[in-house]
C-alpha cells in the first residue's frame, strides 16, 4: 500500500513522516516516533490510556488515523514538562499521590491539563466528569481528583492532613514516591514499550473450543509465509507441566492433548511484523475433536459431567476442609441462627496495562521483560520449561501497569515468547489485546457460598459453617491458596469458638482463575450480611455486635494462628465515627442505607524455600546508598518503601538512596508481591541489610571519631557520639574512608516469614498461617433509586490497621483503591457473562462495568497503628483488608437501604429491582 506523507507538529516539533493510511496516530506515536509515554490499553476507545491533546483537546489516539492528524498540533505526555521542570499538573500528581502503577497517568495528566486550561477552578464533580473517560484501577480515583484540584490551587484533604506523627526521620512520613516523576513524565517504560534491534512480533493461535482434543496441527502453510521466522506448537516444548504446587501440576503452556477453554494457547508464530504473524496464525490448520464441556461449577462436580483432567476425578481441583470444635452442636444450642446461599459470577483484574512480554534468548541464556509480581517466581518455572539453569533466566526489571493478584503466576505467554526467541535467535515481543488480557491471563473465581452463623443470647458468636464452591476454570493455578483465603480471613476477623469450612474448587471449561484480594466475594458478603441479620434479631447495633466479637492481640484462631498485633476494634470505632454511624444507623430516610464490614488480612504465609527475601546494601564512592532487593513494584510503591526503610535504618536522607529491584540477574531471591509480604518480609530483609551496613559504618566511624562504636548514633546523614552531637562525621565520608582503608561497606540481610512451616493448605491447615495479621473496617453509605434499582454510593470510609505506615500516603492509596475494589467493583458492578458455548460475552471495557471516576465518591482513608512486633518499624500490610471489609460494608448498606438481604453479587440495578418487587409481593418480610 502506498504511503502518504504527513507532517505533524508534535510537542512543538514539526515531524514529517511517511505512513500507510491504516495506521492510527497511536501506532505512529509509539512505533514510528517511539513516544511510548502514550499507552495502549484497549484500542477500542474505552480506556483513555492513549489520550493525547490535539489542538489542545484530549482525544483517543487509537481512534484517529495518523493521516487525519495532518497539520495538527499534538501534545503527548513527553512534551508537557519543560526539561526538568514539571508542569503544575504533573507536579500535583507527584505530590498528592495521584500516581501508582502509572499506566493511566499520561492520559489522566493530559486530560486534566486540558480541563484546567478551559476551567481553571473546577469543582470536584467537574473533575470527575472530565476524567470519566480515563480508567484507573490503582487509585480508586480519590488522589487523582485531589491532584487535579490541588493543581488548580484549591485546597484538598491530603494537603490539609496533619502529617502522621512519626518519631522517625524518614519512615512514617508522607513521602513522594520516586517512581512517580518518571511516570508523570511518560518516561517510565512498560514491557510493550520496549523495542530491541531485530525484534520479531508474536501472535498466538487460540482454541476456539471450550474443550477439544488436538488431533493434528499443520503449520506448513504458515511456515512458508514470507516474513515468518518461527512457528511453535506443544511438540516444540519439553514435556513440562506447570503447577504452583507439586500436586497441582496440570498445565502445559502449549497443550499437546487437548484445549480446555476458549482462548487457550495452542500454537504461536514469530514474524517480522504483527500483521504477518496474524496472517500466519490464520494459516495454521488444527484438526480438532470437540468434546463435551461443562461451564457451571456445580454441574461440573455432579455425576456424569465431562472430565476435564484425566487424573482429577469428579473435576475437583482442590478441596479444603477445616472443622474445629463441634459446629452442629453449637448451632443447635445457639439462640439465633441465620443462613443463606449466596452466588456470584467471575470478575476480572482489569490491569490497565495489557499483558506484554519481550524475550531475548541468546547463547548466554534468556532475558525477559514482562509484568510480574515476583521475578524469581517466574525464573524458576521458565528454566524448567526451557530446560536451562535458573541462572540463565534473567527476568528483568520493568514497570508494571497493575497486578492485583493477576500477575502472580507465570503466564503461557512468557514461555511462548521465550521459546520463539530461542528458536529464532532474535528478540520476540508478544502483546496481548484487551480481550486476551481478559481471557488468557487469569480471572477471578465465580462462587457459591452456603453459610450458617449462630449467636448466643448475649450476642456472642457461637459457630460458623461455610460451604463454598468455587469456579476454578480449566487449571489449578493458585487453587489451594485461593480456596483457603476466605476461612483464613474470617477466622481472623471474629471469634468463632466452633468453625467449619469446606471449599471445593471445581474445574470448568472456562479460563483459569488465579489470586485476588477478595475472592470468593460471596463468602465475605454471606458472613457480613448474616451478621447484620443476627444483630437485628438481637436488637443490637451492628457496630456494637462486631466490637463484641472482634479478635484481640493474643487471640488464637481456630486453626491455631496467634494474633500478634491487633487494631481491629480501633478500626471499627474510627471508621464508624468518621462515617457518622451513630447518627445515621437506624435514622436514614427510606432507600438510604449505611453498612459496615470488617476483615483481617494475612501477611507473609509459608512458601517453603521461596518464602523469604534477601537484600544487600552497598555504598558508592560519593556516599550514595544502593539497595539491592528482589522485591517487585507493581505500582503499589514497594521501591520507595524499601528506600525509606534503608534510609531510616542507615540514618541517611532519602535522596541518598537508590534501589535496584526485581531483576533475577542481580537481585537476591524474594517471595514476590503476593501474600501481602513485601513490607513485612522484603522490607524486613532490607532493614536487616541496612542494619548490617550500619554496623560496619559505625566501626569505621568509631575509628575516625576515636570512640567506641556502641556510643554512636546515625541520623540525618551524620554519625555522632550519642550525647555529644558536635563530635560527628558525615556518613558519606565514612563510606569513603572505609574504601581508603581497603574495605567496602556491604550490608546483607534476609527475612523469613514467622509462620509454621508444617502448615499446608490442603493436608495440614493448622498452625501459624502468617507472620502478621492486619485488620480493617469499612463503612459505606448508599442511596437506592427504588424505581430503577440503581445504587448510588454516597460515602465510603475505610480504616486499616497497617501496623505502622512506612509512607502514610502510600497506605492511603492502598486503602482507597481497596475500597473501590471491594465496593463498587465487587458488590455493585463487575461480572462476566458467558455464552452457552463458553465464550466470554464482555471481555471489553464497554460491556464490563469497570467503575469510572464519576461512579465513586471521595474515599476517606483512616490509618490505624498497632506496632507489629515482627514487622519492620512495626509495619504489616498496606490496605488490602479494606477490599474484603468493603464487600460487607457495601452489601450491608444496600441491605439497609432496601430492607432485604441480597443473595447474589454484583447487586446490579436489575437485581435490586427484582428484590424490591419480591418484597412488595410479600416474598420477604420487612427487616
Amino acid at each position: 500500500m502506498e504511503k502518504i506523507s504527513i507532517s505533524l507538529k508534535i510537542n512543538g516539533r514539526l515531524e514529517t513522516l511517511e505512513v500507510v493510511p491504516y495506521r492510527t496516530l497511536l501506532e505512529v506515536l509509539r512505533e514510528d516516533l517511539q513516544l511510548t509515554g502514550t499507552k495502549c490499553g484497549c484500542e477500542d476507545g474505552s480506556c483513555g490510556t492513549c489520550t493525547v491533546l490535539l489542538n489542545g483537546d484530549p482525544i483517543r489516539s487509537c481512534l484517529l488515523l495518523a493521516v487525519e492528524a495532518q497539520g495538527k498540533e499534538i501534545l503527548t505526555i513527553e512534551g508537557l514538562a519543560q526539561g526538568e521542570k514539571l508542569h503544575p499538573v504533573q507536579e500535583a500528581f507527584v505530590k498528592h499521590g495521584g500516581i501508582q502503577c502509572g499506566f493511566c497517568t499520561p492520559g489522566m495528566i493530559l486530560t486534566a491539563k486540558a480541563l484546567l486550561d478551559k476551567n481553571p477552578t473546577p469543582t470536584e464533580r467537574e473533575v470527575r466528569q472530565a476524567l470519566s473517560g480515563n480508567l484507573c484501577r490503582c487509585t480508586g480515583y480519590t488522589k487523582i481528583v485531589e491532584s487535579v484540584m490541588a493543581a488548580s490551587g484549591q485546597e484538598v484533604p491530603s494537603s490539609r492532613k496533619e502529617d502522621f506523627v512519626s518519631p522517625y526521620s524518614v519512615v512514617g512520613r508522607r513521602t513522594t514516591r520516586f517512581d512517580s516523576i518518571p511516570k508523570a513524565k511518560g518516561e517510565a517504560k512498560y514491557s510493550a514499550d520496549l523495542y530491541l534491534p531485530g525484534m520479531l512480533y508474536a501472535k498466538v493461535l487460540r482454541s476456539p473450543y471450550p474443550h477439544a482434543k488436538i488431533l493434528n496441527i499443520d503449520t506448513s502453510q504458515a511456515e512458508k509465509l514470507p516474513g515468518v521466522r518461527a512457528v511453535i506448537t506443544g511438540k516444540d516444548a519439553l514435556p513440562y507441566r506447570w503447577g504452583v504446587f507439586s500436586y497441582t501440576r496440570d498445565m502445559q503452556f502449549l497443550p499437546t492433548d487437548k484445549a480446555r477453554f476458549i482462548g487457550q494457547e495452542v500454537a504461536a508464530v514469530a514474524a517480522i511484523s504483527e500483521e504477518i504473524a496474524q496472517e500466519a496464525i490464520d494459516l495454521i490448520k488444527v484438526e480438532w475433536e470437540p468434546l463435551p464441556f461443562v461451564l457451571d461449577p456445580e454441574e461440573a462436580l455432579g455425576e456424569g459431567a465431562p472430565q476435564i483432567h484425566e487424573d482429577k476425578p469428579g473435576n475437583v481441583s482442590v478441596r479444603i476442609f477445616v472443622n474445629e470444635g463441634d459446629v452442629e452442636k453449637a448451632l443447635f444450642e445457639s439462640y439465633f441462627v441465620e443462613e443463606g446461599r449466596f452466588s456470584s459470577p467471575e470478575e476480572s483484574y482489569c490491569q490497565t496495562e495489557n499483558y506484554a512480554v519481550v524475550a531475548n534468548f541468546d547463547s548466554t541464556g534468556l532475558d525477559i521483560w514482562c509484568p510480574n509480581a515476583g521475578p524469581h517466581m517466574k525464573a524458576r518455572p521458565l528454566s524448567n520449561a526451557l530446560g536451562i539453569p535458573t541462572s540463565d533466566v534473567r527476568v528483568r526489571k520493568i514497570n508494571v501497569g497493575g497486578h492485583f493478584g493477576g500477575r502472580s503466576e507465570i503466564s503461557p505467554g512468557d514461555f511462548i515468547a521465550a521459546l520463539l526467541s530461542k528458536k529464532t535467535g532474535r528478540p520476540v515481543k508478544l502483546v496481548y489485546t484487551r480481550e486476551e488480557n481478559f481471557n488468557c491471563v487469569r480471572q477471578v473465581h465465580g462462587s457459591v457460598t452456603h453459610c450458617r452463623v449462630g449467636v448466643d443470647r448475649e450476642g456472642k458468636l457461637t459457630a460458623v459453617d461455610m460451604k463454598v464452591i468455587m469456579d476454578g476454570g480449566a487449571y489449578a493455578s493458585t487453587g489451594p491458596i485461593a480456596a483457603s483465603v476466605a476461612y483464613i480471613m474470617i477466622e481472623g476477623t471474629y471469634k468463632f469458638p466452633n468453625f467449619r469450612y469446606e471449599a471445593i474448587r471445581s474445574y470448568t471449561n472456562k479460563p483459569p482463575r488465579g489470586m485476588y484480594p477478595h475472592h470468593p466475594r460471596t463468602s465475605y458478603a454471606a458472613l457480613e450480611l448474616l451478621l447484620d441479620s443476627l444483630a437485628e434479631k438481637l436488637g443490637m447495633d451492628p457496630l456494637e455486635f462486631r466490637i463484641k466479637n472482634a479478635v484481640h492481640e493474643g487471640y488464637i484462631t481456630p486453626t491455631r494462628t496467634v494474633i500478634t498485633s491487633c487494631g481491629e476494634v480501633e478500626t471499627m470505632r474510627l471508621a464508624s465515627e468518621k462515617a457518622g454511624w451513630k447518627e445515621k444507623w437506624g435514622h436514614l430516610p427510606p432507600y438510604r442505607g449505611i453498612g459496615m464490614g470488617c476483615a483481617s488480612m494475612i501477611s507473609g504465609f509459608p512458601m517453603g524455600i521461596r518464602g523469604g527475601s534477601a537484600a544487600f546494601v552497598r555504598f558508592n564512592e560519593d556516599g550514595d546508598v544502593i539497595v539491592i532487593s528482589g522485591v517487585m513494584d507493581d505500582g503499589q510503591g514497594n521501591d520507595s518503601m524499601i528506600a525509606q526503610i534503608a534510609a531510616e535504618e542507615l540514618g541517611v536522607p532519602l535522596t541518598k538512596v537508590k534501589v535496584i529491584t526485581g531483576d533475577t540477574s542481580v537481585t537476591p531471591s524474594d517471595q514476590g508481591a503476593y501474600s501481602q509480604a513485601s513490607t513485612l518480609i522484603s522490607g524486613g530483609a532490607v532493614k536487616a541489610a541496612a542494619a548490617d551496613a550500619k554496623e560496619q559504618l559505625l566501626e569505621v566511624a568509631a575509628q575516625m571519631l576515636e570512640t567506641k562504636k556502641e556510643g554512636l548514633v546515625a541520623r540525618d546523614g551524620m554519625i555522632f557520639v550519642k550525647d555529644e552531637p558536635e563530635r560527628r562525621v558525615e556518613i558519606s565520608k565514612v563510606a569513603r574512608k572505609a574504601l581508603a582503608m581497603n574495605r567496602a561497606i556491604l550490608g546483607r540481610g534476609d527475612r523469613w516469614p514467622d509462620a509454621d512451616p508444617s502448615r499446608e493448605w490442603v493436608k495440614n491447615p493448622r498452625g501459624q498461617i502468617a507472620s502478621a495479621i492486619s485488620f480493617g473496617t469499612a463503612v459505606a453509605e448508599v442511596e437506592v433509586d427504588p424505581e430503577t434499582g440503581k445504587v448510588k454510593v454516597l460515602n465510603m470510609v475505610a480504616a486499616h490497621d497497617c501496623g505502622y505506615p512506612i509512607n502514610p500516603m502510600a497506605v492511603e492509596q492502598q486503602i482507597q483503591r481497596s475500597a473501590v475494589e471491594g465496593g463498587p467493583q465487587g458488590v455493585l458492578m463487575e461480572k462476566h457473562l458467558w455464552t452457552k458455548r463458553g465464550q466470554n460475552l464482555n471481555a471489553n471495557f464497554i460491556d464490563y462495568w469497570f467503575p469510572l471516576s464519576i461512579d465513586v465518591p471521595h474515599i476517606e482513608p483512616i490509618i490505624v497503628t498497632s506496632q507489629d512486633p515482627f514487622g519492620p518499624f512495626g509495619a504489616k500490610e498496606g490496605g488490602l483488608s479494606v477490599s474484603v471489609a468493603m464487600i460487607g460494608a457495601m452489601a450491608n448498606a444496600v441491605r439497609n437501604a432496601i430492607g432485604i438481604t441480597p443473595k447474589e453479587l454484583p447487586i446490579t440495578p436489575d437485581v435490586v429491582l427484582r428484590l424490591l418487587e419480591e418484597k412488595r409481593r410479600g416474598f420477604y418480610k420487612e427487616v
Partner: protein, 334 residues
Amino acid sequence: MNLPQFEFIQPRSVEETCDLLKKHGEEATLLAGGTALIVYLRYRLKKPKVVIGLKGLTGLNYLSQQKEGLTIGSMVTLETLERSPMIFHGYPPLNSAIQQIAVPPVRNQATLGGNICLENRCIFYNQSEFWRKTQGPCLRLGGGVCYAVEKGKRCQAVYSGDLAPLLIALNAKVKILSAQRERTLPLADFFTGRGEKPNILNQDELLTEIQIPLTEPGVGYAYEKLRVREGMEFPMAGVAVRIKRGENGTIEQIKIVLGAVGTAPIEVTKASDLLVGQKFDDKILEEFSNQAMEAARPVGNQIMNSEYRRKMVGVLTKRALRRAWAMTEKRESS
C-alpha cells in the same frame, strides 16, 4: 490488533465526496469522527477497500440558528454542540442528552452525523474476529443462526444511538446528498428497522445536515437514558418525549420515542392518538408508561437483561414526561 488495509481518500468538498462514493460503490465506507468506525474496522466488522475521510469537509462543520430552527452540519462534533450556547440555552435537554454520550474525550472526536448513522449493536456481533469465529456466522454475517434470539429469523441488533430518539421527538429532518440528488426527509423515516442495515442511505449517499425545528411555546421535551455507570455506556434503553401543553393545563400533543430497545428508534404511536385534551396527572403517566413498555422490543443481546430494560422503559417514560412537562411550565411563565 492492527487495522485492515485500505486505501484512504480525503475529499475537499461535498461534491467530490459524492463522486467518490459513486465511483467506489460498495467498496467504500465513510469515516467521520471514527469513534465507531475505527472499532468496526479493528474487529473486521467492516472490510472496505476504500475509506473516505470526511474530516476535511469544513463545509459540513456548521451550526446555525435560523427562524425555522437549528441547522447543523453532519460533521459538527458532539463537543462543539455541547459547548454551543445556542444549544445550551435554546435546547437544554439536547445539551444534556449529548453529555450522556460516551465520555468527554470521545465527544471531542465524535460527530453528529456519525452518531445518527451508527451501526446497530449486538453482544453476539460486536466482538473480535476470533470471538465471532468461535461461534460461527450469525444472521448478520450471512449465517443461518441468530445467537441472541432463539430461532430468530431476522437480525435484531439494537439501534444504540443516543440522539436520534430525541431528534425524532423534535421532528428533526435530515438532508441526504448523492451525486444525483439531494433529499430531505424526517429523521423518523431515516431508519429501516433492519438490524443489519439500520438506515436508508444508499451506498452513494451522504448525510449532510440535520435540521431541528424551533419548538413552539408550550412545548417541553426530555431524554432519559438507562445505563449502569455514569458514562462510557451505550444506552440500555432511552426514552425521548416531546409534549405540548394546551389550554388550562391539558396535553395538546405528545410524542414518545424509544431508543435502544429495538432495531430502530420506536415511536410509541398510541400515545399520540389517545390523549389530546387530557389532564397531565399520575394516571395518564401510568398509561403512557404502559404503552411505551408495550411498544419496546428489547431482546437478549445486551449485557443487561431484556426484562429489566423493558421495565425501565416505563420508568424512564414517566421521568421524561415529568421533566418535559415541567419544562412547559417554565417556558410558559418565562
